[in-house]
């Protein structure tokens, strides 16, 4: 992890980089202990993880959303206007932001049982917003795009002008697969007779896809473990004087 330490100051005679590597290595080993069984070491690492990451999320949300999108354009100018009217011409507050602030504050109505139904307003607003957004998006990104990609000639011409039977066969299989898979998802009829047979073929296609998806992911997952092994071998072990004759990561 070359990015581990941007600064190389020292604490108690140890460089922050070395401390960082040790912290990371111990936490790494703590998590792996879970593979044997749940244990106090894993629990400590897990709770550190929860605390640190929840705070990280909160701080990032503060700097990237609250500060630039609400505090700076609305609250600070508003305060300026009220307490420092002499500076009023600096920036005018964006009053429309009072709406999301109001909706956001309504969420706190959950603390007051009598008015907790008010918290439904912001939820309804946000859910409606994304529901609306998803309708044209799904049509454009999935339905039209994938339909376009599926309308293939079953007997295409190859590069040399002759017929390309192999591609034609693949195209036929692709179209069949799409139709059969769709048939599997048909809900309002019994899967018997023709529909039953077609949807059965659909299930076969699904199984091929899932098998392939599984097999294709194995390499990526093993790579993740390789990454941790490399960290322990080439970054951590050297700090206790064990140098393995391998290529370093940085």
């Amino acid at each position: 992890m070359p990015a581990a330490a941007a600064t190389s100051s020292t604490i108690f005679g140890l460089s922050t980089e070395i401390i960082g590597i040790w912290v990371a290595a111990l936490l790494t080993l703590a998590i792996y202990s879970f593979l044997y069984a749940d244990n106090p070491v894993y629990k400590v690492a897990e709770h550190i993880f929860v605390g640190i990451s929840a705070a990280y999320g909160a701080v990032i949300l503060y700097y990237q959303a609250l500060l630039p999108k609400l505090v700076k354009p609305l609250i600070i100018p508003l305060i300026d206007r009220v307490w420092h009217p002499e500076l009023a011409d600096a920036t005018s507050p964006r009053y429309t932001l009072l709406v999301p602030m109001f909706l956001g504050l309504l969420i706190f109505s959950r603390f007051v049982p009598k008015y907790d139904w008010l918290s439904r307003w912001p939820i309804a607003f946000v859910m409606g917003l994304y529901a609306g957004l998803s309708i044209p998006r799904s049509v454009q990104e999935i339905i039209l795009k994938q339909m376009h990609g599926t309308m293939l000639p079953l007997l295409p011409r190859g590069a040399n002008g002759g017929y390309d039977f192999l591609t034609g066969f693949s195209n036929l299989l692709l179209v069949m697969g799409v139709i059969c898979t769709l048939a599997y998802f048909y809900f309002s009829a019994r899967h018997e007779g023709l529909l039953g047979r077609v949807s059965r073929v659909g299930v076969w296609f699904l199984m091929v896809a899932f098998g392939a998806g599984f097999g294709n992911t194995v390499m990526a997952r093993i790579s993740l473990l390789i990454g941790r092994v490399q960290f322990l071998l080439y970054d951590w072990l050297p700090t206790i004087g064990i140098h393995l004759g391998g290529p370093g990561m940085g």
Binding site: P2, N216, I222, G246
Partner: protein, 271 residues
């Protein structure tokens, strides 16, 4: 006795997987990489055919989590590009990219005795991928007036005469996300610059169509792509070693699946 093959403690599998991954690193096991994928070869040939001092832009669009798969590619490509005496420009559309770029470029250039600012430069990170890609098409100075260390790029010899995609021989995107698509649409599309990519094994299938249509000239596919490339440039490194772990682990999983099935059939037949 067959039941044992059917239901053994999964922790035994965990131990075997750990051994399978550690041992190739401890023993420096190098397995032969097999035949080179034509997409890997195409990328190698494209770099091989560039005239000396042609700038090659490498985009670092991955972070620590993508390192195991993508970083070996970055190092192998860097080695090839610098040893061919081409100019190397690193950019990052991912926030976590610049340290990756710095590590790949500086470690390899020490080996090859190449100089920062003369042979290579790390231009750093800029947000909003599409805007950055488009700005480079107009003038790279609009997107990257300074490098990662805040030096004006006009003062760097490596940037001499580079204005936009017309001056760049090849763009290679090393990515764990969907940025290769953006490079194809917004850089190759309007500006006709050649684009190639190095992506994780899971992502690779998404880009086959672009290779078929020629919008992308070559692609490295996961750790295997990195190992193949290391073989092509004749410098075996982390990709080859990692591939050793991969092969052993894959075989091990298949072995376990086979054992499970043998146990299953023997068990059910006996019943």
């Amino acid at each position: 006795m067959w039941e044992k093959l059917l239901f053994f403690d999964r922790r035994i599998i965990f131990v075997f997987i750990a051994i399978a991954v550690w041992v190739p690193f401890l023993t420096q096991l190098e397995l032969p990489p097999g035949q080179t994928n034509p997409r890997t070869q195409a990328l190698y040939d494209a770099i091989e055919n560039l005239p000396p001092r042609t700038p090659v832009m490498v985009a670092f669009d991955y972070g620590p989590s993508g390192m195991p798969e993508v970083h070996p590619m970055a190092k192998a490509l860097t080695r090839h590009i610098l040893s061919r005496n081409l100019r190397l420009l690193g950019v990052a559309l991912a926030l976590t990219g610049p340290p990756m770029c710095q590590d790949a470029f500086s470690s390899v250039s020490q080996d090859l005795d190449k100089q920062e600012g003369v042979d290579w430069v790390n231009l750093g990170y800029k947000p909003q991928p599409v805007a950055v890609i488009t700005q480079i098409g107009e003038d790279i100075r609009r997107a990257f007036p300074e490098d990662a260390q805040e030096r004006a790029i006009d003062e760097l010899p490596v940037m001499a005469g580079i204005h936009n995609y017309d001056d760049i021989g090849l763009v290679i995107d090393l990515a764990t996300g969907n940025t290769p698509g953006a490079w194809i649409v917004y850089a190759h599309g309007p500006y006709k610059v050649k684009v190639a990519a190095g992506v994780t094994g899971v992502m690779a299938t998404d880009y086959y169509p672009f290779l078929q249509t020629g919008q992308m000239i070559g692609m490295l596919n996961g750790l295997k792509g990195a190992a193949e490339y290391e073989e092509l440039i004749n410098h075996r490194d982390l990709g080859t070693l990692g591939m050793g772990s991969q092969s052993v682990a894959h075989l091990l999983i298949i072995l376990f699946v086979t054992l499970g099935n043998v146990g299953y059939f023997a068990f059910t037949r006996r019943r």
